[in-house]
Symmetry: C2
């Protein structure tokens, strides 16, 4: 397998565009070559097969979704983090649509579903740990609920954006934070 | 176009299975005939084209997801309604996976996305109205947030069910109701 990291990243970005535009059934190594504008056979020098390509796309989506440097430094607050998440999502629609395609393909490929579960499980746990350690208001359950509500919001904003037109998303995000991450839910100490 | 309602429903159910199993690119009138076990050409007697088929699948998904008679009578509480929603989702996985496929296909077909927006928008407004009129605790914003959190939970439960293994979903649903639908959020009267 070839190892030029820039070339590999460019091929994975091309694969993300193919997934987003054509759906998972349109994703072939040949379609990736074509999208990347490289000679036929290039992608097969980088990925042994389609399954390996899918796994590497997963990792590439995370590289593309890392928050900007400035966001995680300085005084933190959850509402600002959510606004940043939504803005990044809207700049990187293809990445999110590709992720939904991978989730659906995972319902048909148990080995992909396992990889998704490991991958997203580690990410959710890291988010929960980050939140609790940062001293932001809210407990573990609240952070998981916030993750679910933001997943729902992102799925709607990606696929049926008109649906939330009567409910400005900034207001929804502020209400999520306020209600799901109370300073001390029901008088219990934050764990 | 033929009008036998049972035959039409059977063809739409076959189309839902094809969508769930093969993804939207696998959905052809011919694949629907094959899945339904009817002679080739039958589906084309019921649906002028694939776009019309997609629109009718949307409506059929709603027929399949109507709550059981008993659920909406007698004393209501939101936590019970959510448990019923989740149980129905798990019995009708194909319907929900087909809906996600339609949402993704909508990102590539503006006329389908418009139909999804009208359809799901009407459903969300009906849910909000039902909730507010029923006298259950919670305001409009809370009901919309509950819809988003349940959408996120359903997407995860369908596509990466292992992810929520550390967080029993019944507990998550109870916490959603408790936090998102307070009796009187912040002392404001429920509208």
């Amino acid at each position: 397998m070839r190892q030029n990291p820039e070339r590999r990243a460019a091929l994975l970005d091309a694969a993300i565009e193919v997934l987003a535009r054509e759906g998972s059934r349109g994703l072939t190594l040949r379609a990736v070559d074509k999208e990347a504008g490289v000679p036929t056979g290039t992608a097969s020098n980088y990925f042994a097969n389609r399954a390996q390509l899918l796994g590497q796309i997963l990792r590439r989506t995370r590289e593309r979704l890392v928050p900007d440097e400035g966001v995680l430094t300085g005084p933190l607050d959850t509402a600002t983090l959510l606004r940043d998440l939504l803005a990044r999502m809207r700049r990187e629609r293809s990445v999110h649509i590709a992720m939904l395609e991978l989730r659906l393909e995972g319902t048909r490929r148990p080995e992909l579903q396992e990889e998704l579960a490991r991958f997203q499980g580690a990410e959710l746990e890291a988010n929960v740990a980050f939140h609790l350690e940062s001293g932001l208001p809210g407990d573990r359950t609240g952070v998981v609920l916030l993750y679910l509500a933001m997943l729902g919001l992102i799925v709607d904003d990606l696929t049926v954006p008109e649906l939330l037109a009567p409910y400005p998303v900034e207001g929804l995000m502020d209400a999520m934070v306020e209600r799901l991450l109370p300073e001390r839910p029901e008088g219990r100490p934050t764990p």
